[in-house]
């Protein structure tokens, strides 16, 4: 684990700082006695270490080698951080006013019981939570998305204690320099870069650190982990592994999830034969209709067809979709059971926190023979009408 | 041969429209031209020679009054019929799109071909002869961009010839021709007027040429427009002014 590198990294930092600025003896010891939080099992893109006064959160945003790209130093006593290294991002605990710029993060804070602390989200259009929607409509929660950009002025006026957003993991590149200048703390989440469903769900612990909700996050995640692994065992034990493919085409390209992608892993854990499981990509493959048809024309199941909910809509985009066996048998399922007026599904909010629910849905889809053993209701998925 | 009225201008205001207002270059023009006339148009630059010629063949609509060609107003003519009556030679340059000198001359026969522009033997013969008369046979397959100014002018003149019209209008056709060619051209135009009874109007700054070959002169100033015979030219005040004392 790269953690050991950090001790040397910090030591190096001190020596360097010592060499050039001669800090007083009082400030050096504050970073010793750090204990790594070893409860983080799946997530690879963040790590936590703490001592009795401070918590450090490390982000590993570098695609190739998991190098540290940002370090957050969370403190309560400001006297302790007087000589903290300049590249540490200092965040005072606890953060009361939270701005969450993604529907996933909004959902996480809601699950952590912090809806009263939410002062801003990105855009209510993406939201399915009635409580949050009503607060947005009444103005209690502000919306900071201004087209593709974030409304800087509104953000600065609002003065949240912390802003959560997503990015590459390097504040210099991810955050608007003017926002950095305003000294409003910005925490970057790399949950979307995780490669497994549990790893992604474990990020609830990251968010919890900033708002003093470690215990609650741990308990949520522990339950998710337990459920997921139990379901995974059920999935592995199934005898029949029905063939399945995913998504739809945009013009000439059909973006099929790669063999190591989030979706592919869920499908594997659900006991299926995902037709592209042997591919080695973590992202999507741009295939042609021909390629997909050649491989999947007799596949038993078809999932994740964009935002479409009926077979009529599907065939309205291309009459040739009707040639797939899965279309003829009607075995098409989409994660659109609960969508808001604009078509955004709860899958993209709570689904990321509760992959066990997604897995449960998937097993239910592919293994109706196991009905007795599972919760007999879909959380996110529905069959296309 | 009997002289017929072929062009009549009745109280015509000639000019163009700019921003929805009429800009009148020549006012209240009343003139008559006959078959067999070889008329030279003189005037300083900008006085309205080109405007007159363009108005006569319908390229510029009259602002008021009317122009009659063979007793019928220009505006009442079907374009194809008008094309068989009047041919014009302008100073503008055209080219590109693989156009050769031959193509331009051949265009003169367009009023006589079918809608697929198919050239029959008679059409081809007329085109040939127009090319021969203007002396551009050696250059007929060259692209327009490759022709010298003089050859280009001859090409357009050949097109007007090929158009076989009883009326020919030429705007400064001799500007780029060499000495001999200028005389060749005017001789040709004089012959067309005399032997084929065409009505030919030529504008030119070459006063000597006009005096030598034309039968009448149309003298234009910003105050007047008069049709005089060549013999009266040297005593005409406006003409003398245009001549600047050198003629």
């Amino acid at each position: 684990m790269p953690y050991n590198l950090f001790k040397y990294f910090f030591a190096g930092c001190f020596l360097f700082c010592f060499g050039c600025s001669e800090p007083t003896k009082k400030s050096i010891p504050f970073l010793f006695d750090l204990k790594k939080d070893s409860s983080i099992k799946y997530a690879k893109r963040f790590a936590i270490s703490r001592n009795k006064d401070l918590t450090l959160v490390y982000l590993f945003g570098n695609k190739a080698n998991y190098d540290t790209t940002a370090i957050y130093l969370i403190y309560s006593d400001s006297s302790l951080i007087k000589n903290a290294p300049k590249n540490f991002i200092l965040i005072k605990n606890p953060c009361e006013k939270i701005a969450a710029l993604s529907s996933i993060y909004t959902a996480m804070f809601f699950e952590l019981g912090l809806i009263d602390n939410l002062v801003a989200i990105d855009n209510v259009d993406y939201c399915n939570n009635p409580e949050i929607i009503s607060r947005c409509n009444s103005g209690k929660i502000k919306q900071l998305a201004k087209g593709i950009e974030t409304d800087l002025e509104q953000t600065i006026t609002l003065k949240p204690d912390i802003v959560f957003t997503f990015g590459m993991g390097d504040p210099e590149k991810d955050v608007n320099p003017k926002l950095l200048q305003s000294k409003i703390p910005v925490a970057i989440s790399l949950d979307h870069k995780e490669e497994t469903p549990l790893a992604r769900a474990e990020w609830i612990k990251f968010f919890a650190i900033f708002v003093n909700k470690k215990e609650m996050a741990d308990s949520i995640f522990n339950l998710v982990e337990k459920n997921y692994n139990a379901l995974k065992v059920i999935g592995e034990k199934t005898e029949l592994k029905p063939s399945v493919f995913s998504d739809i085409k945009y013009s000439d390209s059909w973006y099929m999830p790669g063999g190591k992608s989030y979706v592919a892993q869920l499908l594997n854990d659900a006991g299926t034969n995902y037709l592209w499981k042997d591919d080695s990509n973590y992202g999507s493959l741009p295939l042609s209709f021909e390629q997909v048809y050649a491989k999947a024309k007799d596949a038993g199941f078809w999932i994740n067809v964009s935002t479409l909910r009926t077979k009529k809509e599907l065939v309205g985009f291309d009459t040739r979709y009707a040639e797939f066996a899965a279309f003829k048998t009607g075995n098409i399922f989409n994660n659109t059971k609960h969508v808001n007026a604009l078509g955004y599904s709860t899958y993209w909010e709570t689904g990321m926190i509760y992959p066990d629910r997604i897995l449960s849905d998937l097993i239910l889809i592919f293994h109706p023979e196991l009905k007795g053993q599972l919760k007999n209701e879909f959380y996110y998925y529905e069959q296309l009408k | 041969m009997e002289k017929k009225e072929c062009i009549v201008l009745k109280n015509a205001d000639l000019g163009y429209k700019k921003n929805n207002t009429n800009v009148s270059i020549l006012n209240a023009v009343n003139l008559k031209f006959y078959t067999g006339d070889f008329i030279g148009i003189v005037g300083v630059n900008g006085v309205g020679k080109s405007t007159l010629l363009k108005s006569l063949c319908g390229l510029l609509p009259t602002l008021s009054g009317e122009i009659l060609i063979d007793q019928q107003p220009v505006s009442d003519y079907l374009l194809n019929d008008l094309a068989k009556k009047i041919a014009i030679v302008l100073t503008e340059k055209i080219g590109g799109f693989n156009l050769t000198a031959y193509d331009v001359v051949a265009a003169g026969q367009m009023p006589y071909t079918n809608s697929f522009n198919r050239f029959e033997k008679e059409n081809l013969a007329i085109i040939e002869s127009a090319i021969k008369i203007t002396g551009i046979s050696a250059h007929q397959h060259k692209l327009l961009n490759e022709l010298s100014d003089g050859l280009f002018q001859k090409t357009i003149i050949a097109k007007a010839l090929a158009q076989q019209t009883p009326i020919m209008l030429l705007d400064e056709p001799s500007a780029f021709l060499d000495y001999a060619s200028k005389h060749d051209l005017f001789l040709l135009l004089k012959r067309l007027a005399n032997e084929e009874n065409k009505c030919v109007l030529v504008s030119s700054h070459d006063l000597d040429l006009l005096l030598k070959y034309c039968t009448k002169l149309l003298v234009i100033s910003n105050k007047s427009i008069e049709l005089i015979s060549v013999s009266e030219a040297k005593t005409n005040a406006v003409f003398k002014e245009i001549g600047g004392g050198f003629i």
Partner: protein
């Protein structure tokens, strides 16, 4: 001279047949053999065949449209999109894809692709009406071109605003539409696309003489009996319909409309436009068929966007011939 042209035409026809075959049998990732033609092979009959036919129709319509506009404006830089047709179509499609929620309003009448095709046609149609109305009031070609340019800019600006405020999924969908595609038409669509394209291409037969005359410029064209204004009106109409049709079924396809007429004039030295119409139809089809074959077989696992290939094949060709010929 004439025999030379006949040989060239024969070569083009042979090239057309070859490109057709390449597109049919190699224009995709799966391997198709001759016996697949006779069996009820879905890929051949419903994926390859409509794509190849679409390539031919699109190649014909766009190059004819480009030829017409280059003659009207006497400018080799003119192309089918110069009057704003594609911007209008794009804008309407942007409205229907990006202004997302409203799609569900029409979900029973017009769904998915039909809606997009109709939007594109509406957009082209509206711009065409506007341009035709303006062309009736405006004499000068340059003014007409400039107004067309301004309309393009306006449509583009509105489209940019829509893109800016849209969500990722819709945006992706729209951007990919904008890259053009020959694979979106089914055999059923061809039953509408083909006859309409054919009718308007045949209409050009009535304009052979005017097309030749317009090369002489407005004044001389008028003088030999061709009504510049009314012919310009009808030719712009034909060109716009041809362009609008193809843009509706295939999205905006780059390059073909401008380059093919230029290529035609470089290969065939004649100035007779009926010759060029035929050669443009042949060249346009060949270029798109070859581009399609390449786009789908260059990299085994991906099909490249058609607009990229047409430009990469075509532009060097034009540049090379330009250096050799220096004529356009």
């Amino acid at each position: 001279m004439k025999e030379n042209n006949t040989i060239k035409f024969l070569l083009l026809i042979i090239l057309l047949v070859i490109s057709c075959l390449l597109s049919l049998f190699y224009g995709g990732s799966e391997s198709i053999h001759l016996n697949d033609v006779f069996s009820d092979n879905f890929i051949f009959w419903h994926l390859r065949l409509p794509k190849t036919i679409t390539a031919i129709i699109a190649g014909c319509t766009l190059s004819a449209a480009g030829l017409i506009l280059q003659i009207i404006f006497r400018n080799p830089l003119a192309g089918p999109y110069v009057l704003g047709i594609s911007s209008g179509a794009s804008l309407m499609v942007a409205i229907s894809i990006l202004a997302g929620g409203t799609l569900h309003l029409f979900s029973d009448l017009f769904i998915g692709k039909t809606f997009i095709v109709l939007s594109a046609i509406t957009g082209s149609f509206l711009i065409t009406l506007l341009i035709l109305a303006i062309s009736k009031k405006v004499n000068s070609n340059i003014v007409l071109l400039l107004i067309g340019l301004m309309l393009s800019q306006i449509c583009g600006a509105i489209q940019t605003a829509l893109e800016y405020f849209s969500d990722a999924n819709s945006l992706k969908s729209f951007v990919i539409w904008g890259m053009g595609s020959l694979s979106n038409t089914t055999n059923f669509d061809l039953m509408i696309y083909f006859p309409l394209a054919l009718i308007f291409l045949l209409a050009l037969l009535f304009f052979i003489k005017p097309l030749n005359a317009l090369l002489l410029g407005e004044n001389y064209a008028q003088n030999v009996g061709i009504n510049f204004r009314s012919n310009r009106f009808y030719l712009i109409l034909i060109s716009s319909v041809l362009t609008g049709l193809t843009t509706a079924f295939c999205g905006p396809i780059a390059f073909i409309g401008i380059a093919v007429p230029i290529l035609s004039r470089m290969i065939f030295k004649s100035s007779k436009q009926h010759l060029h119409i035929i050669s443009c139809l042949l060249l346009g089809s060949i270029l798109l068929l070859l581009s399609d074959a390449l786009a789908n077989s260059a990299i085994k696992t991906i099909s490249l966007p058609i607009n990229m290939i047409t430009t990469f094949i075509g532009a060097p060709m034009v540049i090379y011939l330009m250096f050799k010929n220096k004529s356009w």
